[in-house]
């Protein structure tokens, strides 16, 4: 980045600037890294996650694309097969319906279909989550991608991970889906409950290891993305009531670090999965099922899931609030679970 803020002001950086740092760092160290997508160049990304990159790396490596996601997603696949390391931005996760074909039947399957002989090191970068834009611009969909094998599905929550997991995604030889949350993209590092300090230099967070964001002995909360912030808020709220919530940031859906989750549940006996994706046939059911498989029914005293209740996101604010798993809803569940058997 050309306009580095002076030291001490890094906590004031918007989250997208941390992603831009990761992109810039990787582009600087590896000439095969490219960025392409809508509005990634001249605008620097609709949230600013690629601000400054066009100026620094030029239009050959930062390519503004027409609204032709199928072609440019597939272009990412072809570039990767040809030896490049493209980062393809699909502006919002909701738009994958126009380009899923290339993500799933090409990127995610080619390594396997080729018997391991053709690598496809592409990163699909997209923004999910709810900021008031209703049914077609609010979905998370990481559960959907978890279901389709062949792609790592990485979901940052802390400021540090926005930088470190993006760098790791780019270095990964497998296709990676990187799902940001719009609400976090609109925030600054210092707004986070998970620490604002992110080094200026290289940060690479290994993909596939969950993180205990808060320790606690009564209920395990497995969550990710904005859910970690909400869960930390709820945990702080119920702590004075004597309820110890252990908050786990899953960090990636694929691979899913069940070891960390199960180790916690083995202690607490109570598992609450908090997920801003849809409730059914997704992440929350999988975490519950794997936990049950790993620990056996006897180890589980209580299990809960808090997610969008299988309806599209409604437009009006009171309705939107009612379907999202926010801090109040999490706190209420924690209280209910803590008193239960």
């Amino acid at each position: 980045m050309r306009d580095e803020p002076s030291p001490g002001t890094r906590a004031a950086l918007p989250i997208p600037a941390l992603i831009a740092e990761a992109l810039a760092g990787e582009m600087a160290r590896d000439p095969s890294v490219l960025l392409l997508g809508e509005d990634v160049g001249r605008l620097g990304g609709v949230f600013g996650a690629s601000r400054g990159l066009l100026e620094r790396f030029g239009p050959d490596r930062v390519m503004d694309m027409p609204i032709a996601e199928m072609a440019f997603t597939g272009m990412g696949v072809g570039l990767a097969m040809a030896g490049m390391r493209p980062v393809v931005e699909i502006m919002f996760a909701d738009f994958v319906g126009v380009c899923l074909e290339q993500m799933v039947n090409a990127a995610a399957k080619i390594p396997f279909m080729s018997g391991g002989r053709q690598r496809v090191p592409v990163v699909f970068k997209t923004a999910g989550g709810c900021i008031g834009s209703a049914a077609q611009h609010s979905q998370c969909l990481w559960g959907l991608f978890g279901h389709l094998p062949g792609m790592k599905v990485v979901v940052p929550s802390s400021p540090m991970d926005h930088k470190g997991l993006m760098a790791a995604a780019i270095r990964c030889d497998d296709p990676v889906l990187f799902v940001e949350h719009k609400r976090l993209l609109l925030s600054k590092a210092r707004d986070s409950l998970q620490g604002a300090e992110v080094p200026e230099g290289e940060v690479v967070t290994p993909i596939g290891r969950a993180r205990v964001a808060r320790a606690g002995g009564d209920v395990t909360v497995a969550t990710l993305s904005l859910g970690v912030e909400h869960a930390l808020r709820a945990a702080a709220e119920v702590a004075p009531e004597g309820i110890g919530a252990e908050v786990i940031d899953l960090r990636s859906v694929v691979p899913l670090d069940m070891e960390t989750v199960c180790a916690s549940v083995a202690r607490t006996g109570r598992l609450l999965v908090v997920d801003e994706d849809y409730l059914s046939f997704g992440l929350s059911g999988e975490v519950v099922a794997r936990c049950l498989e790993a620990l056996g029914p006897g180890a589980l005293r209580q299990v809960g899931r808090l997610a969008v209740p299988d309806v599209p996101i409604p437009a009006a604010l009171p309705l939107e609030r009612a379907v999202l798993p926010g801090p109040e809803a999490i706190a209420a569940r924690l209280r209910a679970m803590a008193v239960g058997a």
């Binding site: 609204i67 008031g132 209703a134 611009h137 437009a315 009006a316």
Partner: protein
């Protein structure tokens, strides 16, 4: 020129459309819209032109920038504004919001996904053909939408079946920050029409008179069984892509120039004045429209928000 002269009506329609979007802006400023908002300011001529040739049975499937198309189709302004303001009295009981207004009685709908309007419009066109109705389906998209796969596939089918479809491309030369000239393989969208056996038409979409004529011709051809028409109307976007867009990809100077030189209302006003229409008659009209819209906004603001208890309703038919 008499007050009910079609060109005066055109002018009034443009004023109404602008006032409508200004009401939306006001509501946004007051925090009464919590989601995204895309206005059509400077693109009123296209909406006003549509209004003249659309018939009740015709269908319009619009985009994220849909307010003017809805008004042109005859969607009640009250319920449309209430939907945008997320009210229970809205077209969709506050479930859809500004990008997803639906009004079955006028066959109006929209989508927030670029290009996705066109296949749905194709479906209406096919339904009209099957039932032997002389309605036309209008699928609206932007210049950005003309690059989507859906655009091609829709025109392939409409072209081969000679369906009564008008694909209306509002070419404001920008898809958010991406310039049409930077990503289009052709200088215009209209010149591509031959690839689908469609008629291509290009019109200056800031000239409401020319656009009304072009749109009427397009509708006539489609209605008469002449097959699909690809009508491109060039225009400009006066504001950011959405409210909150920093719009750093254009200079202030450029935006000022667009507002001054390519405002369809100002252009039309100048033309009417030159033709002898009185300035005070036009001013009176503008004041009237403003007052009406202000009353509309006040009325909608008094409407209730949806009850959160019903947040999961209306997914299935039995709940409707």
């Amino acid at each position: 020129m008499r007050p009910n002269d079609p060109r005066i009506l055109r002018h009034r329609r443009m004023l109404e459309m602008r006032a409508f979007d200004e009401a939306c802006l006001e509501a946004l400023r007051r925090g009464e819209i919590h989601g995204e908002l895309h206005t059509g300011i400077n693109q009123e001529a296209i909406g006003a032109a549509m209004a003249e040739s659309l018939r009740p049975g015709d269908a319009v499937v619009s985009t994220h920038r849909n307010h003017f198309h809805a008004l042109a189709k005859g969607v009640p302004a009250r319920a449309l504004l209430a939907e945008i303001l997320e009210r229970e009295t809205g077209l969709c009981r506050g479930r859809g919001g500004h990008m997803h207004p639906f009004h079955p009685p006028t066959n109006f709908s929209a989508t927030g996904i670029v290009g996705a309007s066109l296949p749905v419009a194709l479906g209406y066109a096919q339904a009209f053909r099957l039932r032997g109705e002389d309605h036309v389906a209008v699928g609206v998209t932007g210049d950005g939408g003309s690059h989507t796969g859906a655009f091609h596939e829709t025109l392939v089918i409409a072209g081969a079946r000679r369906l009564p479809l008008v694909v209306l491309v509002e070419n404001n030369a920008l898809a958010i920050s991406v310039g049409f000239g930077d990503v289009s393989p052709t200088a215009t969208v209209a010149e591509r029409a031959g690839a689908w056996g469609a008629r291509g038409m290009l019109v200056d979409g800031t000239d409401v008179d020319a656009t009304a004529e072009a749109f009427a011709a397009a509708m006539e051809q489609a209605r008469g069984g002449g097959g699909p028409v690809l009508l491109e109307a060039t225009c400009t976007r006066a504001r950011g892509h959405f409210e909150g867009d920093p719009d750093t990809y254009r200079t202030r100077e450029e935006k000022r120039r667009l507002r001054e030189e390519r405002d369809p209302i100002a252009l039309h006003r100048a033309r009417l004045l030159a033709e002898g229409v009185g300035a005070d008659a036009l001013d009176r009209m503008a004041a009237e429209v403003r007052a009406e819209t202000a009353r509309l906004l006040e009325a909608v603001r008094a409407d209730p928000l949806p009850d959160p208890a019903g947040a999961a309703l209306y997914l299935w038919a039995e709940e409707a």
